[in-house]
Symmetry: C2
Subunit: 328 residues, 2 copies
């Protein structure tokens, strides 16, 4: 059963819960904004349901140390995340890259030693809304076997790009793994087989058994080319300060780039041209019997805008009850 909850209530619920688990209020506010956004975007699993697992992480790892900038120029910053939650470090890092790009034309930021940061599109969209082009890549604990291999070497390794446009940002974000680790865990918990082609067992044989996949590896998406993109994300994460291969207790790396299109052309002309590209794609003919052709990320953007205008989201009652119970 789902229940309707106002956006400010949902945010407050998340802030309260996280503060009770030791997170400083300004950090809790950043996480809460992201979780509400995830509901608006239609990714309910990435919203308030993330709070209990996050609390478990906070109990296990603590709230982290002091985030510090280790190296800085007019166009770059290298930040030690000090084990603080990625929703916080990535918000700070993207905003830093935006500020640098507004000042210097380009902003490049690396963040080492953080953890899970949610939806990458949330960050790059901030840059595009500030009329900047953005690239963000994030590596993480090795769970994915590169193309042709058995051993877990890469993280789920998502990458995201955003471009400002007359028509609202063009945002492309995707993971370079066939599926998420959490999704395999979910299938295991529910006793369901995985779809075919996502995972291998410890001997490298294809498997649909979640337990065998957890002992083996998830496959890189997209064959050799997709696995190559996974390698790019791994390398950009290394540039962000990660270990070469991130072991269970290893250091993750995040990379952010913001870039002012005015370096190359008038911003208005750039935004008009990106808008024209998106308009042409949306107006193009679908394959026979197929749905309308979509611009990547556009459906999500529209959902978020509509949700903000509406002012409420629907959240699983059981989730709200568990968060309330944790308050006592």
């Amino acid at each position: 059963m789902k229940t309707r909850i106002r956006l400010d209530e949902a945010r407050e619920t998340a802030v309260d819960f996280l503060c009770r688990h030791g997170m400083p209020p300004e950090h809790a506010g950043m996480v809460a904004d992201h979780l509400v956004y995830a509901h608006l975007a239609g990714h309910d699993y990435a919203g308030l349901p993330r709070l209990q697992p996050m609390a478990a992480m906070l109990r296990e790892r603590g709230t982290g140390g002091t985030i510090r900038t280790l190296r800085e120029t007019d166009q770059s910053a290298f930040i030690d995340g000090a084990g603080v939650n990625g929703y916080v470090t990535s918000t700070l890092a993207m905003d830093k890259a935006i500020a640098l790009a507004k000042k210097s034309g380009v902003g490049i930021v690396g963040v080492r030693d953080s953890w899970f940061s949610g939806l990458l599109r949330y960050y790059v969209e901030r840059a595009a809304e500030a009329d900047l082009v953005a690239l963000h890549a994030a590596n993480s604990t090795a769970r994915i076997a590169p193309y042709g291999g058995i051993d877990r070497l890469l993280g789920t390794n998502p990458i995201a790009f955003a471009f400002p446009s007359d028509d609202g940002p063009l945002v492309v974000d995707f993971a370079t793994a066939t599926t998420m680790w959490g999704d395999v865990l979910l299938h295991q918990r529910r006793g369901l087989p995985l779809p075919e082609g996502l995972a291998i067992d410890a001997q490298g044989m294809p498997t649909v058994d979640p337990a065998a996949a957890l002992a083996g590896a998830i496959l890189a998406w997209g064959g050799a080319r997709g696995s190559g993109v996974g390698m790019v994300v791994q390398a950009l994460g290394i540039l962000g300060g990660s270990d070469p291969i991130v072991a269970e207790d290893g250091v993750w790396g995040y990379f952010f780039l913001a870039l002012d299109p005015a370096l190359l052309m008038p911003v208005d002309a750039f935004k008009r041209n990106i808008g024209a590209l998106c308009t042409r794609v949306e107006a193009s003919r679908p394959v026979p019997g197929g749905p309308p052709v979509r611009v990547p990320g556009a459906a999500t953007r529209h959902k978020v805008a509509q949700g903000r205008a509406r002012g409420w989201i629907e959240v699983d009652e059981a989730i709200l009850a568990s968060l309330a119970a944790a308050a006592h």
Copy 2:
């Protein structure tokens, strides 16, 4: 029949041929270096066989005007390619981005109005050999239908990344189309059907008939995710100065980014970590019965190095004969 030819002879053959077709000698030298590299890399089709089609383009379009920098800062340049061959403009643009990054930490270069530029890895590798991280994307004439669509809106849209490493650059480059336009033409000329799943006809139905594909569209690679990468390349090309959608006589756009890892960390540490990633991937266990796990681009790099040491390549005798005949 193939015949052995020394690298300097192959280069001279290309330079002579291009100069006879009106290309200035310094431009011809840049193209020739690239074509010899293509042979070394094992992509013979992208080597001397490209000269005759290039001559046809030069006859049709001329050798282009004067390449000019329209906008420049300490970290960026926007260049009008003036219709000059892409092998030339991309070499100049990548070298400009490298020079800017060496001076300012970051170099961002856009090139508008150029044409075919060969192998993208050739350019980004130059940056990685100079200890820089590089990204290069190139859009072109619309031939590819984005995911779910029929209409040709995107170019073949390749993208390339390179990272310096202790072990030689890590280079990842790939096109975001299932196949190349030239490959469809080749199948048509030879009367061969295309492999399945690459193309659609003018009504959007799957086809293996090259003529139907040429009247229809080539498909984007990698489903929705791959098509999203194609959109990213299109948008980066727009940032490089292209039209939003590039019609037959439209303007292409190239985007180059070079970035000094020293902005974020000591270069030696970065190179060591990228080297460690590659070593771990190469040492990982392959799937049962499969070949050794490969680092993207590494086989090509080794082939090029071996070929340079050897000092010769093998070229189709018919190609050499046709180039010699064109001299009279």
